[in-house]
Protein backbone atom coordinates (compact mmCIF):
# COMPACT_ATOMS: atom_id res chain seq x y z
CA UNK A 1 0.00 0.00 0.00
CA UNK A 2 1.36 3.42 -0.97
CA UNK A 3 0.99 5.88 1.93
CA UNK A 4 0.58 9.63 1.67
CA UNK A 5 1.20 11.49 4.91
CA UNK A 6 -0.11 15.03 5.22
CA UNK A 7 1.03 17.64 7.70
CA UNK A 8 -0.11 19.31 9.73
CA UNK A 9 -3.19 17.27 10.55
CA UNK A 10 -4.97 20.33 11.94
CA UNK A 11 -4.27 24.01 11.30
CA UNK A 12 -6.13 27.03 12.64
CA UNK A 13 -4.95 30.51 11.64
CA UNK A 14 -6.22 34.07 11.44
CA UNK A 15 -7.66 35.54 8.28
CA UNK A 16 -4.97 37.20 6.18
CA UNK A 17 -2.13 34.91 7.22
CA UNK A 18 -0.20 32.63 4.88
CA UNK A 19 0.09 28.87 5.31
CA UNK A 20 1.62 25.78 3.74
CA UNK A 21 0.46 22.18 4.01
CA UNK A 22 2.51 19.20 2.95
CA UNK A 23 1.93 15.82 1.37
CA UNK A 24 4.76 13.30 1.58
CA UNK A 25 5.33 9.73 0.47
CA UNK A 26 8.15 7.26 -0.02
CA UNK A 27 6.55 6.21 -3.32
CA UNK A 28 6.71 7.83 -6.74
CA UNK A 29 3.45 8.98 -8.28
CA UNK A 30 2.73 9.65 -11.93
CA UNK A 31 0.42 12.47 -10.92
CA UNK A 32 -0.83 14.11 -7.77
CA UNK A 33 -4.07 15.88 -7.05
CA UNK A 34 -5.27 18.22 -4.33
CA UNK A 35 -8.90 18.21 -3.23
CA UNK A 36 -10.92 20.33 -0.83
CA UNK A 37 -13.88 18.92 1.06
CA UNK A 38 -16.51 20.93 2.86
CA UNK A 39 -18.73 19.43 5.57
CA UNK A 40 -21.48 17.19 4.22
CA UNK A 41 -20.07 17.14 0.69
CA UNK A 42 -17.70 15.00 -1.34
CA UNK A 43 -14.16 16.21 -2.09
CA UNK A 44 -13.78 18.49 -5.09
CA UNK A 45 -10.66 18.58 -7.24
CA UNK A 46 -8.53 21.74 -7.02
CA UNK A 47 -5.57 20.86 -9.21
CA UNK A 48 -3.55 18.06 -10.79
CA UNK A 49 0.24 18.17 -11.11
CA UNK A 50 2.02 15.74 -13.38
CA UNK A 51 5.63 16.85 -13.98
CA UNK A 52 8.32 16.74 -11.28
CA UNK A 53 9.06 20.28 -10.11
CA UNK A 54 5.82 21.59 -11.57
CA UNK A 55 4.22 24.64 -9.95
CA UNK A 56 0.60 25.59 -10.54
CA UNK A 57 -1.25 28.63 -9.27
CA UNK A 58 -4.95 28.92 -8.66
CA UNK A 59 -5.66 32.49 -7.48
CA UNK A 60 -4.20 32.57 -3.93
CA UNK A 61 -3.30 28.88 -3.94
CA UNK A 62 0.09 27.64 -5.15
CA UNK A 63 0.72 23.94 -5.66
CA UNK A 64 4.11 22.36 -6.14
CA UNK A 65 5.07 18.81 -7.12
CA UNK A 66 8.44 17.63 -5.85
CA UNK A 67 11.24 16.98 -8.29
CA UNK A 68 11.20 13.27 -7.46
CA UNK A 69 7.38 13.13 -7.68
CA UNK A 70 7.12 11.82 -4.12
CA UNK A 71 5.84 14.93 -2.37
CA UNK A 72 3.78 18.04 -2.87
CA UNK A 73 2.89 21.25 -1.09
CA UNK A 74 -0.03 23.64 -1.07
CA UNK A 75 0.59 27.26 -0.13
CA UNK A 76 -2.27 29.67 0.55
CA UNK A 77 -1.63 33.40 0.57
CA UNK A 78 -3.79 35.75 2.62
CA UNK A 79 -6.13 33.03 3.85
CA UNK A 80 -9.85 33.75 3.92
CA UNK A 81 -12.69 32.09 5.87
CA UNK A 82 -13.87 30.53 2.61
CA UNK A 83 -10.65 28.51 2.53
CA UNK A 84 -11.82 26.53 5.56
CA UNK A 85 -12.15 22.83 4.84
CA UNK A 86 -10.44 19.46 4.69
CA UNK A 87 -7.58 19.41 2.18
CA UNK A 88 -6.66 16.03 0.73
CA UNK A 89 -3.83 15.08 -1.57
CA UNK A 90 -4.15 12.01 -3.74
CA UNK A 91 -1.55 10.15 -5.75
CA UNK A 92 -2.16 8.45 -9.05
CA UNK A 93 0.38 5.75 -9.78
CA UNK A 94 -1.09 5.37 -13.21
CA UNK A 95 -1.98 2.28 -15.15
CA UNK A 96 -4.49 0.08 -13.44
CA UNK A 97 -3.56 1.12 -9.90
CA UNK A 98 -6.06 2.73 -7.55
CA UNK A 99 -5.96 6.36 -6.50
CA UNK A 100 -4.41 6.76 -3.03
CA UNK A 101 -5.59 9.55 -0.70
CA UNK A 102 -3.55 11.24 1.97
CA UNK A 103 -4.40 11.54 5.65
CA UNK A 104 -5.84 15.06 5.23
CA UNK A 105 -5.28 18.52 6.71
CA UNK A 106 -8.19 20.16 8.45
CA UNK A 107 -7.85 23.91 7.93
CA UNK A 108 -9.81 26.53 9.86
CA UNK A 109 -9.52 30.22 9.02
CA UNK A 110 -10.64 32.47 11.84
CA UNK A 111 -12.28 35.75 10.77
Amino acid sequence: TQLLEQSPQFLSIQEGENLTVYCNSSSVFSSLQWYRQEPGEGPVLLVTVVTGGEVKKLKRLTFQFGDARKDSSLHITAAQPGDTGLYLCAGGPGGNEKLTFGTGTRLTIIP
Binding site: Q33, G40, N96
Partner: protein, 113 residues
Amino acid sequence: EADIYQTPRYLVIGTGKKITLECSQTMGHDKMYWYQQDPGMELHLIHYSYGVNSTEKGDLSSESTVSRIRTEHFPLTLESARPSHTSQYLCASSGGGLDTEAFFGQGTRLTVV
Protein backbone atom coordinates in the same frame (compact mmCIF):
# COMPACT_ATOMS: atom_id res chain seq x y z
CA GLU B 1 -19.83 19.37 -13.16
CA ALA B 2 -19.42 15.79 -12.00
CA ASP B 3 -22.07 13.32 -13.14
CA ILE B 4 -21.94 10.91 -10.26
CA TYR B 5 -24.89 10.35 -8.01
CA GLN B 6 -25.44 8.64 -4.70
CA THR B 7 -28.71 7.67 -3.07
CA PRO B 8 -29.96 7.97 -0.47
CA ARG B 9 -28.30 11.10 0.86
CA TYR B 10 -29.24 10.22 4.45
CA LEU B 11 -30.33 6.87 5.90
CA VAL B 12 -31.32 5.94 9.43
CA ILE B 13 -31.93 2.24 9.87
CA GLY B 14 -32.29 -0.34 12.62
CA THR B 15 -29.71 -2.93 13.58
CA GLY B 16 -29.86 -6.12 11.54
CA LYS B 17 -31.44 -4.60 8.46
CA LYS B 18 -30.05 -5.15 4.98
CA ILE B 19 -29.21 -1.98 3.08
CA THR B 20 -27.92 -1.07 -0.36
CA LEU B 21 -26.26 2.25 -1.11
CA GLU B 22 -26.55 3.25 -4.73
CA CYS B 23 -23.89 4.93 -6.86
CA SER B 24 -24.13 5.76 -10.55
CA GLN B 25 -21.93 7.73 -12.94
CA THR B 26 -22.54 8.81 -16.52
CA MET B 27 -18.94 9.65 -17.45
CA GLY B 28 -18.04 6.20 -18.73
CA HIS B 29 -15.28 5.83 -16.14
CA ASP B 30 -13.83 2.36 -15.69
CA LYS B 31 -12.56 2.91 -12.13
CA MET B 32 -14.98 3.31 -9.26
CA TYR B 33 -14.37 3.52 -5.53
CA TRP B 34 -16.17 3.38 -2.20
CA TYR B 35 -14.71 5.27 0.74
CA GLN B 36 -15.76 5.39 4.38
CA GLN B 37 -15.19 8.63 6.23
CA ASP B 38 -15.89 9.81 9.75
CA PRO B 39 -16.65 13.57 9.98
CA GLY B 40 -13.62 15.68 9.09
CA MET B 41 -11.32 12.71 8.99
CA GLU B 42 -9.38 10.94 6.25
CA LEU B 43 -10.95 8.80 3.56
CA HIS B 44 -10.63 5.05 4.00
CA LEU B 45 -10.88 2.99 0.82
CA ILE B 46 -13.16 -0.01 1.36
CA HIS B 47 -13.83 -1.21 -2.21
CA TYR B 48 -12.71 -0.44 -5.73
CA SER B 49 -13.37 -1.66 -9.22
CA TYR B 50 -11.32 -1.46 -12.42
CA GLY B 51 -14.27 -2.27 -14.63
CA VAL B 52 -17.23 -4.55 -15.16
CA ASN B 53 -17.02 -7.76 -13.13
CA SER B 54 -13.85 -6.52 -11.39
CA THR B 55 -13.98 -5.69 -7.68
CA GLU B 56 -11.30 -5.60 -4.99
CA LYS B 57 -11.23 -5.03 -1.26
CA GLY B 58 -9.72 -1.74 -0.16
CA ASP B 59 -7.23 -0.86 2.56
CA LEU B 60 -9.86 -0.79 5.32
CA SER B 61 -11.60 -4.03 6.12
CA SER B 62 -15.34 -3.79 5.65
CA GLU B 63 -18.26 -6.17 6.07
CA SER B 64 -19.93 -4.63 3.05
CA THR B 65 -19.93 -6.11 -0.45
CA VAL B 66 -20.06 -4.52 -3.89
CA SER B 67 -20.92 -5.51 -7.42
CA ARG B 68 -20.08 -4.08 -10.86
CA ILE B 69 -22.41 -5.56 -13.42
CA ARG B 70 -22.61 -2.36 -15.48
CA THR B 71 -19.94 0.29 -16.02
CA GLU B 72 -22.12 3.05 -14.66
CA HIS B 73 -23.40 1.33 -11.52
CA PHE B 74 -21.48 0.35 -8.36
CA PRO B 75 -23.81 -0.45 -5.46
CA LEU B 76 -22.63 -1.27 -1.94
CA THR B 77 -24.56 -3.69 0.26
CA LEU B 78 -24.56 -4.37 3.99
CA GLU B 79 -26.35 -7.64 4.75
CA SER B 80 -26.87 -6.87 8.44
CA ALA B 81 -26.30 -3.31 9.58
CA ARG B 82 -24.75 -2.61 12.98
CA PRO B 83 -24.16 0.62 14.92
CA SER B 84 -20.43 0.32 14.12
CA HIS B 85 -21.35 0.84 10.43
CA THR B 86 -22.54 4.37 11.20
CA SER B 87 -20.45 6.66 9.00
CA GLN B 88 -20.40 8.63 5.75
CA TYR B 89 -19.94 6.58 2.60
CA LEU B 90 -18.52 8.30 -0.48
CA CYS B 91 -18.53 6.91 -4.00
CA ALA B 92 -16.08 8.13 -6.64
CA SER B 93 -15.05 7.38 -10.19
CA SER B 94 -11.99 8.18 -12.27
CA GLY B 95 -10.65 7.76 -15.76
CA GLY B 96 -7.40 6.20 -16.90
CA GLY B 97 -3.94 7.29 -17.94
CA LEU B 98 -2.08 10.04 -16.11
CA ASP B 99 -5.23 12.06 -15.62
CA THR B 100 -6.72 10.08 -12.75
CA GLU B 101 -8.80 12.77 -11.10
CA ALA B 102 -11.59 11.38 -8.96
CA PHE B 103 -15.11 12.72 -9.12
CA PHE B 104 -17.15 12.21 -5.98
CA GLY B 105 -20.80 11.86 -5.22
CA GLN B 106 -22.29 13.84 -2.35
CA GLY B 107 -22.14 10.86 -0.06
CA THR B 108 -24.58 8.83 2.01
CA ARG B 109 -24.66 9.51 5.71
CA LEU B 110 -25.65 6.22 7.33
CA THR B 111 -26.85 5.95 10.91
CA VAL B 112 -27.58 2.53 12.37
CA VAL B 113 -29.59 2.61 15.57
